[in-house]
């Protein structure tokens, strides 16, 4: 066995390479498709701007514009989780790559992990552009109350969110004959439920008791609590619209992150077993 073979036979090295290998095309691909920078950064900002103008037309306090910009920033990550994480394995199956992944002597978690990290990096461009341009154009005043907690909440939200995406990837593969439609279905309803453009606490204020249960239910989507916590730390003047204290939301997000990654691992093991037992996993539906 030569030195290279010995290195590759080390599972840690092999899985790390698989991880990097899957993240690489996403990071590089984002730079090769220059049109993305325009279409995925500047143009989506317009939809976000519309909500800012609605608040303005209704005479709401200016800080709500900041709520919208932050929500619009995080939309990029949700879209990436839906279209490039959840739908990805199904997509790989349709174009014939899935059997190669299944045969390769790597952990499928390394593959999904690489996909997630590559997706986060790729999406950060759109997210950062939305945030920076939104803040500049609408003159949003951000008051960072606790930068460390803010960074922690942001990172844990992303881990939980992409953990959910990793879980969805297996679920879509098992049940999603039309992954496209499922992703469409999870787009706007989640914008509504997770409170991308308004505080999630308003469910309770407007709908009363049932609204509180709705807010608790949608808190299973990591974005809900992540957004609520980040808004508390960036717009303290609207603290009355907070759903739960930010530190409590951080603890819940940590639990969600662990649970989603664990479930993603279990779901992957399940589809691997099915692939071996039934041999139908890579069957395409045209």
């Amino acid at each position: 066995m030569n030195r290279e073979d010995a290195r590759v036979s080390n599972p840690l090295v092999l899985n790390f390479r698989a991880f990097i290998g899957r993240a690489y095309p996403r990071v590089i691909g984002a730079h090769r498709e220059l049109s993305w920078i325009f279409f995925n950064t500047l143009l989506p900002l317009l939809s976000v701007a519309a909500y800012v103008f609605v608040y303005a037309a209704l005479g709401a306090p200016a800080a709500f514009a900041g709520f919208v910009i932050l929500g619009g920033t995080m939309v990029a990550f949700w879209m990436n989780v839906l279209w490039s994480m959840a739908a990805q394995l199904y997509w790989e199956k349709e174009i014939g790559n899935l059997q190669l992944y299944m045969m390769a002597p790597m952990s499928r978690m390394a593959l999904l992990g690489g996909m997630a990290v590559g997706g986060m990096v790729m999406t950060s461009t759109r997210a950062a552009a939305t945030l920076i341009l939104g803040v500049l154009i609408f003159q949003i005043v951000l008051v960072v109350v606790n930068p460390l907690l803010l960074a922690g909440i942001f990172l844990v939200t992303l881990v939980a969110l992409y953990g959910m995406g990793m879980l969805f990837a297996s679920v879509y593969l098992l049940y999603g004959r039309e992954a496209w439609n499922i992703s469409n279905l999870l787009q706007e309803p989640v914008f509504l439920g997770a409170g991308f453009y308004f505080p999630v606490q308003s469910f309770q204020r407007i709908l009363g008791g049932p609204g509180r249960w709705i807010a608790i239910g949608v808190s299973l989507i990591p974005m809900t609590l992540g957004l609520d916590a980040m808004r508390q730390l960036l717009f303290p003047e609207l603290l009355e619209w907070a759903f739960l204290p930010a530190d409590i939301e951080l603890y819940i997000l940590i639990v969600l992150a662990v649970v989603f990654v664990f479930l993603a691992r279990r779901a992957l093991a399940y589809i691997e077993r099915l692939a071996k037992q039934e041999g139908r996993l890579t069957q395409r539906h045209l």
């Binding site: 143009l43 608040y55 209704l58 005479g59 709401a60 709500f64 174009i95 914008f191 509504l192 204020r205």
Partner: protein
């Protein structure tokens, strides 16, 4: 429906936060948002048609080489999208009126005007959607961002969910050059019981007959532009061998 409900919540949040939010304003937002479903469906739907055939099902090469006009085929798919959107619009309006109690009405005296406006607007929307869909011939499978973004331009500058007067002056002028601005105004004439105090004075001053004329002339111009854009991007895609490309990353 979810997109419209987001706006309903925004309305109530703004009202609770001490904003100026009369019920007519909720109806204004609601009607605009409901009919915007046609626009979004046409723009994003056309992208889905081309990308779905090209990347997902990989059947575009067979459709493309068949002895039909691909442009006519795309227009046909566009009408399907409009029917689907139409069902959504009816459901949203019914829920708004029936369940949420939003003051939406229908001025029967304006029925012929409404039908003419609806047809003209839908044709304009499809023509723009086909041009946008055509551009995705040249993009990777993630070109949905472009459809989403261009739909965003219309969302902001055509007074879909807020009066144009909220925009800066340059934005108002830009919006006045987009045909769909007049479409939304015409639809509101029929469906709103009362206009909110925030409604745009410039648009309210235009008589119905002029609105119809603007939409009819716009349809001619937009159709010609759509055909030209589609033919040009189709030519580029053929030249670069992109008609049936797949982008797996």
């Amino acid at each position: 429906m979810a997109g419209t409900l987001i706006l309903v919540f925004i309305y109530y949040v703004a009202a609770a936060a001490g904003g100026a939010a009369p019920p007519e304003m909720l109806a204004y937002i609601f009607v605009g948002s409901a009919f915007y479903m046609f626009v979004f469906q046409a723009f994003f739907g056309m992208f889905e048609v081309i990308q779905g055939d090209r990347e997902w099902f990989q059947t575009i090469r067979y459709i493309y080489i068949s002895p039909i006009s691909y442009y006519a085929y795309i227009i046909g798919r566009g009408f399907t999208q409009m029917v689907v959107a139409g069902i959504g619009v009816l459901v949203v309006l019914a829920i708004g009126r029936g369940l949420l109690g939003i003051p939406i009405g229908f001025n029967l005296a304006l029925l012929p005007f409404f039908l003419a406006v609806l047809v003209l607007g839908l044709f304009i929307t499809i023509a723009i959607g086909v041009a946008i869909g055509g551009i995705t011939f040249l993009t990777a499978r993630h070109g949905g961002g472009m459809s989403e973004g261009i739909a965003g331009v219309f969302y902001v500058f055509t007074g879909v969910i807020f009066p144009l007067s909220v925009l800066p002056v340059w934005g108002q002028v830009f919006g006045q050059w987009i045909p769909l601005t007049y479409w939304f105004e015409a639809l509101r004439r029929v469906l709103l019981e009362r206009s909110p105090p925030q409604a745009d004075a410039f648009l309210m001053a235009i008589p119905e007959s002029t609105l119809l004329l603007i939409l009819a002339l716009s349809l001619i111009v937009v159709s010609l532009l759509s055909l030209a854009v589609f033919r040009y991007v189709e030519h580029l895609a053929r030249k670069k061998g992109k008609i049936d490309m797949t982008t797996a990353y």
